[in-house]
Amino acid sequence: MRPRDGTPIPEPEPIGPSHLLPPADVGFATAGGVTSRSPWELFRRRFRRHRLALVSLGVLIGLCIVCFGAPFFAPYARDHQDLTLGAVGPSWHHWFGTDELGRDELTRLLYAGQISLEIGLAVAALSTLVGVVIGAIAGFVGKATDQMLMRVTDLFLVLPALAVLALALEKFGHDSFTIIWVLAALFWMYVARVVRAQVLVIREQEFVEAARASGATGPWIVVRHVLPNCVGPIVVNATLAVAAAIVAESSLSFLGFGVQLPATSWGRMISDAEGYVGTSHAYLLYFPGLAILLTVLAVNFLGDGLRDAFDPTSEPA
């Protein structure tokens, strides 16, 4: 008693596997002779397509090398000073000129870069990590957990940043280590809110339910299915955080809460030279300003490239 008619429905067209032939230039050949590319290979291809991102990566690496290798690259010793010189503009001996104490501007810029880059990258990494964890938990678990975590986030958001910074730095010292922790504590909320919003969208998608149907537990679903779909906003926020941290450190230095002399940062150099606006010594502002600009731009372009490289739907042309 089989009610269903056993004959298969005629299929109007072959629905076999398609060979959407990939370009046969890269990738490893398989037994069938059809090339296939590993996800890592695809990632590299997509990233390499981004010329600007590649250049930016080079610029960032270059900046890190010259700054952290300052003892080798700087034209003068860190504490070299020629008081007889005073502030003179760029010359063959001092490419970026000297400051009012006769210190070589290029040398100072390189050593200052150590602190600025360290703060920018570390704050971005730390705040992104904290923000992603808190945002993902709040968005995925929901209910009371979400409410609690989001109220904590709001609490941090309404903290008067400068007052907290000043207080914390007075208490724990003005070293870059403290600045990193305090800035990260003031930055993670933005990432957390973006990630939470994205997780709220992704967790309602059918492929997440499919994962639950196959028996996957919460952590597995979040790490394997939800977060990879949030990479775009996370990367964009992380790059913004690098820029914001470098600028925030500048503001702190400007107000005198930043790193203390004799250590210096790009922000500190700008604040030290603030009096020269509109004078012939304005070059003392330009070079650290340009260094910050270059770093921030490079990080942003790099972020764009990374976001696209993580997205499998953006195919290498």
């Binding site: 089989r2 009610p3 269903r4 298969p8 076999g16 596997p17 994962a211 149907a213 196959s214 499998p312």
Partner: protein, 342 residues
């Protein structure tokens, strides 16, 4: 995708044990609104549904949009918590299983979704999607890649394509990836939530044939959700017709197709075109008037009475029970039977 060793009609011997048993399944969704999130009312999405599916057979649950058929599918898999009722899969109580037991149980019941786009993670390669259930259950061992390739072959995909991403496949191919994922854990029960409705008609046949073949070779039990009686005819052994959260008619497919008793079933069947022009021209269509009533305030008595041409006062007073018409064929109507007037 064919396995020549299996003759078309050689279905493995069926044991008569029930693979899936659903009893009085109820799901209410509270309607919350306002600042205090107070409950303003209830949407009765599924209002007491019962059916039994023997091992190796297909139960097709048919009804129009919003009748609760997809909710029923999710209730059966406990993807949505039920308000009341019981679900037994191979004798195990799904709705009251402890988390560890539920995890084990999930590997025996899988789902294929309607939308082959939303149901595949765009960030994972097709191979990783199919391998995911294996990894979840710690069964992705050294032979994992080989198993994934075998699954690809089983559903008619080229194993070379395991590194490709979902967006590089066509709708039909994506649905095959979804089927391969559902098969990865070698389940006994597959819930098919409108598996072909999102596909082109030309592709539907291929996927339906694949499902049919898989059922024969693996003795799978299907709970097939559909909104179209015609589309499920090839697969269905048993059919249940749902209207506004309730089963109005349930029975063996041949009986239900040939002698529909409930006016709603008759209306649904009359909407199926006949692929024969002279017959098609003589075909009478039953046009239902009005819209589906709101499930927040279902009609009293019989839920179909507001659109039924046979409705009498009694239909508003009492709810017709799902009674035996003939053996195995049940209908919830006070005035069942063929409709000569139409």
């Amino acid at each position: 995708m064919s396995s020549p060793s299996v003759a078309p009609d050689a279905k493995p011997a069926r044991s008569d044990s029930a693979m899936l048993e659903v009893q009085d399944l109820v799901k209410d969704f509270p309607i919350r609104s306002g600042l205090r999130r107070g409950t303003r009312g209830r949407v009765s999405a599924v209002a007491g549904v019962s059916f039994t599916v023997p091992r190796g057979q297909t139960f097709a649950l048919v009804g129009e949009s919003g009748c609760g058929k997809s909710t029923t599918a999710r209730l059966v898999l406990r993807l949505v918590p039920a308000t009341s009722g019981t679900v037994h899969v191979d004798g195990v109580d799904v709705l009251r299983a402890a988390p560890a037991d539920l995890r084990r149980l999930r590997s025996r019941m899988q789902i294929v979704y309607q939308d082959p786009y939303a149901s595949l993670n765009p960030r994972l390669s097709a191979g990783a999607i199919v391998a995911d259930p294996l990894r979840v259950h710690g069964r992705f061992k050294a032979d994992g890649p080989a198993r994934v390739r075998a699954l690809f072959e089983r559903v008619g995909l080229d194993p070379v394509d395991v590194h490709r991403y979902p967006h590089e496949f066509s709708g039909g191919q994506r649905q095959r990836i979804g089927i391969a994922r559902a098969l990865a854990l070698e389940p006994d029960l597959l819930v098919l939530d409108e598996p072909v409705s999102a596909l082109d008609v030309s592709i539907q046949a291929g996927v339906l044939n694949l499902l049919d073949e898989l059922q024969r070779t693996r003795n799978l039990t299907y709970l097939l959700i559909a909104h179209d009686l015609a589309a499920v005819r090839q697969l269905a052994d048993l059919v249940g017709v749902m209207y506004l959260g309730k089963l109005v008619e349930r029975g063996p497919a041949d009986r239900l197709y040939n002698e529909p008793q409930h006016p709603y079933t008759q209306a649904l069947l009359s909407a199926v075109p006949v692929p024969d022009p002279p017959v098609e021209r003589r075909r009478r269509r039953i046009l239902l008037e009005g819209d589906l009533p709101s499930p927040t305030a279902p009609p009293s008595g019989c839920r179909f009475r507001t659109r039924c041409w046979r409705a009498q006062p009694i239909c508003a007073e009492r709810e017709p029970p799902l009674e035996s018409h003939t053996r195995e064929h049940r209908v919830a109507c006070f005035f069942p039977g063929p409709d000569p007037a139409r």
